[in-house]
Each structure stands twice: as C-alpha cells, then as structure tokens.
C-alpha cells in the first residue's frame, strides 16, 4: 500500500479550516452589523433629542 497519508491529512485539514473560517466570517459580519445598528440607533436618538429640546428663552 502506498505511503501517502499526508495528502489526505492535508485535504481534511484544508476543508476543516475552510468551513470553520467561512462560519467565522458570517459571525464577524453579524457582529459588524450589530455595531452598525447600534450606531444608527444612537444617532436616531440624538437627532430625536435635538428636535424635541426646548429652545432657550431670550432675555
């Protein structure tokens, strides 16, 4: 039997890295989306507060 186990070990390692890496990219993109949503919500709240603020009365 030929001694070529290294090729199948490399193939298995490569596929595991590929699939796990892809799953990780989904997770990273999801986190970035959550941060973006949080920023947008903060900006919306700030704009709302600015609109509803009572202007200072003139002397």
């Amino acid at each position: 039997m030929p001694d070529n186990a290294i090729y199948y070990q490399m193939a298995y390692a490569a596929t595991i890295v590929l699939y796990a890496g892809y799953a990780l990219t989904i997770r990273i993109r999801r986190r970035a989306l959550e941060r973006r949503a949080a920023r947008a919500a903060r900006a919306a709240r700030a704009a709302q507060a600015e609109r509803t603020a009572v202007p200072p009365s003139s002397p």
Partner: protein, 235 residues
Amino acid sequence: MPETSAAPRRPFDWFALLAVAVTAAAYVRAIWFTPPEMLQGYAQKILYVHAPSAWVAFLAFGLTALAGAFWLFLRDPRLDRFAESSAEVGVVFTTAVLVSGPLWAKPIWGTWWTWDARLTLTLFLWFVYLGYLVLRGVIPERDARARLSAVLGILGALLVPFIHLSVYLFRTMHPMPVVANPDGFQMPPVMVKTFFFAFFAFTLLYAALVRARYAFATDRDALEATLDATPDGGR
C-alpha cells in the same frame, strides 16, 4: 440588550451545533473507523470530503438557480436572500472541491492539476459564482441586483449537469462514479456507509451555513431599510 430591532442578537443556534457535531462525526468515522483502500492507500480517504463537497456545491447552485427563477416571477426578497446565501455557501464548497481534488490527484495521477473536462468545468463553475457574488456587491439598486444575479445564477447552474456527465461525454482522467454507478456500488460496505454518512453530514452543514447566512442577510436588509427610511440615512 440590543439598541435597535434592526440587528437583534439571535438565540443560540442548536441546529448549527447539530450540524457541526454530525460533520465532526463524519470526519472521525472517515479517519479512524474506515480502512484505507488497498491500491490508492490513505489518499483514497479524500473521497469522503471531496465527493460530498461536490454534491453540496451542485445542490447549492441548483437551489440558487431555482430561487432566482422563482424570484423572477414572484419578486419576493426572501428568494433573493436565499439565492445569495446558497451561492456563497456553494462557492465555499466548490473551493473545498478544488483544494481537495489536486491533493488527491497528486499521489494518484502524479500531477496536481490537468485540464481535464471535469476539472476545467468545475473551475469555470467556481469563477461563474465568484462573478455572481462580485456582481451582487457592485449593484446598489436592490431590484436590478436581484434580477441580474437571478439570471446569472440560472445560467451558471447549467454547468452542473455538464460537470456531472463530463466523465461520460468526454475522454477524461477523472474516475467514473463509484456509488451512482449502473453496475452498483464499487466499494466495500464499510466505505459505502462512511460515504453516505459524509453526504448526509455535509448536506446538514450546508443547511446550517445557509441558515446562518440567510439570517445575516435578513438583518442586514432590515437595517438598510431602516436607514433608508430615516431622513439623514442614519448618520
């Protein structure tokens, strides 16, 4: 607690955990509980990741085309999101095919790559769907993006039957199917069981990855719709 409803934190995904566990079990069975083949040696074990990855890639692109075709009639954004998700996962599985194939070819054929019909068509398929993802990235307008990518998704999937039949249509170095063969299974039962278990595991992994990618696309579209609705675009 999330500050907006546009990208809520999702609960723990038990389906993804199941898919990972089953896929890990398939690797364990292939490595430790399946004997190597006498003539090819341990390199033959690449079959248990190579063929299931190819099956999943074909399934992914077939479903991308189907979702795209339905989108053209129904204009349902969920179909476009599914097509996008399935195509992306399909590209990942095709990459696995294109990486594991040469690692199998080198010890058996004596070369990493040959411009054989099946290998070349698979490489073309990978380029077509890579182009599909690039196309989606450069068209900002939603309807045009969905329409053009649906058409490309359908045309790209036409390569799949050619790839499957290439071993019959062309003179090729790639071996004939060992399981879907008119003469019956060309492997001992223990290898056939591992083979089908790997098919099942990789299909489950595909479903879990598409599910996660689809959830991301749904939340991204919801956030973009929210930002589009605000006067300053959420800035």
